[in-house]
């Protein structure tokens, strides 16, 4: 039997859903590969990637035996090969060193979230029975949100291969960003998403309040990679302390509320 509450829920959800109206972007199919690509081809691609990865790891190990690199200066220039390992371990090793970035004034950090791949999230089964289970996230995740009072830039770092290019975009779908080719999506109303691979990881930016894609690209060019010490010196003190104290845990910080989690 349908209860009054069930009817009210249906009406409430329908009304809230109907209020959501978004422009459906044009689909772009090419970047994802042809549908129906055989499993055998995919497995071959994975095998090839593994061979390349192992080879790269061996090369890195060999390079390490021939002497360690010392990083000097406050920032490093992004490049295709990724940042060198920082020599100062102020933040421990949980945060991907390639994900330590900053933006110059007038931009400031509004929020920062770090989720370690080794952290265990306690997921509560329900508010009533209180049972919990541990959930391990599939990969480390770092998210920044910067703002300048008028615009915002949310920057997410993903492990390569864990973030596929988005299926939709406006025309043209490609954009040159930070010296490489990326994808962009123009949502309208000043919101853009840009995604590209750099330094061995996927960067994904969600920008709001921008007048044009060129403006977004210009702002993204100002993002600087930093070593541990420089990043820690410029970051909020309570965030730095939390990261250092919870190397294998998760940390969330916001300018409004400080550290949580």
């Amino acid at each position: 039997m349908t209860t009054d509450l069930e009817d009210r829920i249906r009406i409430s959800l329908r009304r809230r859903a109907d209020a959501i109206d978004v422009t459906v972007p044009e689909p772009v199919l090419g970047p994802l590969g042809s549908p129906g690509r055989s499993r055998r081809v995919e497995l071959a691609a994975i095998a090839a990637a593994l061979v390349l990865f192992v080879g790269a790891a061996l090369l890195v190990a060999a390079a390490g035996r021939h002497g360690s690199e010392t990083v000097t200066g406050s920032s490093r220039t992004p490049g295709g090969s990724g940042p060198a390992q920082p020599v100062i371990g102020e933040l421990g090793r949980a945060v991907d060193p390639g994900a330590l970035v900053s933006m110059p004034a007038p931009w400031s950090l509004d929020s920062f979230t770090f989720l370690s791949e080794t952290s265990v999230i306690q997921e509560r089964s329900s508010a009533l029975d209180g049972s919990e289970r541990g959930v391990v996230p599939p990969a480390a995740f770092v998210e920044y949100r910067f703002g300048d009072g008028r615009r915002s830039v949310q920057l997410d770092f993903y492990a390569l291969g864990t973030r596929q290019p988005q299926v939709t975009t406006a025309d043209p779908p490609l954009v040159t960003v930070r010296g490489t080719t990326g994808w962009y999506l123009d949502y309208g109303n000043g919101r853009y998403r840009v995604q590209w691979d750099e330094g061995g990881r996927t960067w994904e930016v969600d920008g709001h309040g921008f007048a044009s894609l060129d403006e977004v690209v210009a702002v993204l060019a100002t993002i600087e990679w930093q070593d541990d010490a420089t990043w820690a010196a410029g970051a909020p003190a309570d965030l730095v302390s939390a990261l250092a104290g919870r190397v294998d845990g998760s940390v969330s910080w916001s300018a409004a509320g400080g550290v949580a989690g």
Partner: protein, 175 residues
């Protein structure tokens, strides 16, 4: 296939396409079939995801990712529309899980409400699995068995979640 050519073919085909429910993934032109599914299901999936994660921008991201997954696995799928919904729901659950990590810093919903809706807000406050079950049951009109399949659990567990959710909503929303 060149993506621009694919997009053009999709737009040309608008007037002769069939509903997404009858899309045959084994059709001779899988790109075209995908475009049909995409155009018919994009907005409904964004709406479903928004009901689960509260944010339209995040819902759009999740929907696009889900379509990307469906596209890559197109030929393997018996029911692309069903798999699309399953992927959207699972990614919404991941997002809710991630949001729990950032608890204490709730992100303001970006849904513009004409009028406050206490019941919808109460649903948003339900524990994640109860919330998903409620939305699938009363918005998507899925059966208990279908919800169990989407959420990867047993029908009895879904009934339990729904029972608890309804009890909580009755408590918060006295008639």
């Amino acid at each position: 296939m060149d993506r621009n050519a694919a997009a053009e073919r999709g737009s040309v085909a608008d007037s002769r396409v069939e509903p997404a429910d009858v899309v045959d993934p084994a059709a001779a032109d899988p790109d075209l079939a995908f475009v049909v599914l995409y155009r018919e299901r994009y907005l409904p999936m964004v709406r479903l995801a928004t009901l689960l994660v509260d944010r339209v921008d995040l819902a759009e991201d999740i929907t696009q990712e889900a379509f990307a997954v469906v596209y890559r696995r197109w030929r393997e799928l018996d029911s692309p529309a069903g798999y699309l919904r399953l992927t959207v729901v699972n990614r919404c659950r991941d997002a809710l899980r991630r949001r729990r990590i950032a608890r204490g810093h709730p992100v303001a919903p970006t849904i513009a409400h004409d009028a406050p809706d206490e019941l919808a807000d109460a649903i948003s406050r339900l524990p994640a699995r109860q919330r998903v079950a409620v939305v699938l049951r009363f918005y998507e009109d899925l059966t208990i068995e279908q919800i169990a399949e989407v959420m990867g659990t047993r029908p009895g567990t879904v009934k339990s979640w729904l029972h608890r959710a309804m009890a909580r909503l009755r408590q918060e929303m006295p008639t």
